[in-house]
């Protein structure tokens, strides 16, 4: 049976001699993986339509229940090529894609998540380089919120009181009196600055374009990025590949 839908390519995996397994985010079937025969051959009829981030109208063959349908057609709606051509944008968008894949169960339709991710790609594509670092962090915060996994940093997660101590194992900040709870005593925590809390709260509350007008300093962004990484690593019990990549690249550029 052939089904038609649209999808955004989140990830591709080489398979066999010249095939690919493509991970798509679709509005009506959620996160799915599909198989593209001979797609790595230079004369493949798929052309560039299976490259990461491509938004395409796709036709899939196979029973809907089977995990791996076959892609029979992919017509590009938006290639998002400018993102792929910008090294930093692509690395950070890969992080968003990996976050999405890691927190989203397969084959659960989610139109809002699809629309949200498509919107992020459009905003990043249209943003000039200067604003990009803060935009990457804002997008990550909004995505985690969308997925229901954003940490609570604005106030103590138990009593709502003031706190600057983030406990990754609780996914929230906790104030000193609530930490008296033996479950949280002696657990590792991270101190967060006022600026980071302020910027984060703003991002949680407001849409991306509004937060993107704020100009947080690099230190605040780096601080938040570190906290989000710790939070995500704790939730997933593993570090994101893209987080490792970004850290590693840091040391690579220092070396030269």
């Amino acid at each position: 049976m052939i089904t038609k839908t649209e999808g955004i390519v989140l990830k591709t995996l080489k398979y066999g001699e010249a095939d690919l397994i493509v991970t798509y985010l679709t509005p009506d079937r959620g996160l799915i993986r599909a198989f593209a025969k001979s797609s790595r051959k230079t004369k493949s009829r798929f052309g560039s339509s299976l490259e990461p981030l491509t938004h395409a109208r796709i036709a899939l063959w196979g029973k809907e229940q089977t995990s791996l349908s076959k892609i029979t057609q992919a017509d590009i709606l938006n290639s998002f090529h400018p993102i792929r051509e910008n090294y930093n944008d692509f690395v950070y968008v890969s992080k968003l894609a990996e976050t999405l894949i890691s927190f989203t169960p397969e084959a659960i339709p989610n139109i809002r998540l699809f629309a949200f991710f498509l919107n992020i790609l459009n905003i990043i594509k249209d943003t000039d380089l200067q604003g990009s670092t803060s935009l990457h962090i804002i997008s990550q915060i909004r995505l985690l919120k969308h997925l229901g996994f954003a940490p609570r940093l604005s106030s103590c997660g138990r009593c709502g009181g003031m706190s600057h101590d983030f406990y990754p194992d609780a996914g929230t900040t906790l104030c000193p009196s609530c930490v008296k709870d033996p479950r949280h005593q002696s657990k590792p925590f991270v101190k967060i600055s006022n600026q980071a809390i302020h910027f984060y709260s703003h991002c949680i509350e407001w849409p991306i374009d509004k937060s993107n007008r704020l100009k947080p300093n690099q230190g605040t962004l780096a601080e938040l990025s570190g906290i989000l990484d710790r939070h995500v690593s704790f939730m997933l019990s593993k570090k994101l590949m893209t987080s490792k990549f970004i850290e590693n690249r840091g040391t690579a550029s220092k070396r030269q």
Partner: protein
């Protein structure tokens, strides 16, 4: 009789790229049906490969010596280095007989989402080669896909300060095809990379 030895072989074969459990089973049963001498000669070829073949000290091409036959060839133009992802890419470029310079094999391509970081590739070794001097042009011939492009851009960042000319193989339409079947990205890339006639 236990089928432990067959299972072992099937498990081992699934380590190969593109070989799933089913293909591995088919291969294992095929090997069982083969004459002993033929099956053993496959095994021995693998042993010899692992025993003798290694990566060239300079360019990471496959060789049986310290240095590969291309690096060792004095007729090659040492001012040019062509950067490819895999030794198999080097072979197809060699087959064109158009290129007379040297190579550098990265042994992969960068991919943030798969955790393929610069450290896992032979990028630092490339930079060191260029720093040693004598190289005028680095031609980046990584694959014309996202991973290849990401790798090309990363290498460009590192090579820029070294003052060497860096070029990228041209993106274009596959010969023998029809323009109307080309997708927008391929077509716009080949328009950007057009040549004067």
């Amino acid at each position: 009789m236990s089928s432990g030895v067959v299972d072992d072989l099937i498990t081992e074969l699934t380590r190969l790229p593109g070989i799933g459990r089913k293909s591995a089973q088919r291969l294992a049963f095929f090997l069982m049906g083969m004459p002993d001498a033929e099956a053993l000669s496959i095994a021995q070829a693998i042993i010899r490969l692992k025993d003798k073949a290694r990566f060239c000290r300079n360019c990471f091409n496959i060789t049986e010596d310290e240095v590969c036959s291309i690096c060792d060839d004095t007729r090659r133009d040492t001012a040019q280095i062509c950067v490819v992802e895999e030794p198999s890419n080097l072979i197809v470029i060699e087959n064109t007989k158009v290129y007379k310079g040297l190579y550098h094999v990265l042994l992969g391509a960068l991919s943030p989402i798969d955790g393929i970081t610069p450290e896992r590739l032979k990028i630092n070794e490339l930079i060191e080669r260029v720093k040693k001097g004598g190289v005028e042009e680095v031609i980046i011939a990584t694959n014309p896909n996202t991973k290849g492009e990401t790798t090309a851009q990363y290498i460009l960042q590192l090579l820029k300060p070294l003052g060497v000319k860096v070029s990228r193989i041209a993106y274009g339409l596959p010969i023998g095809g029809d323009i109307e079947f080309a997708d927008e990205v391929t077509l716009s890339k080949s328009l950007q990379g057009r040549n004067q006639m």
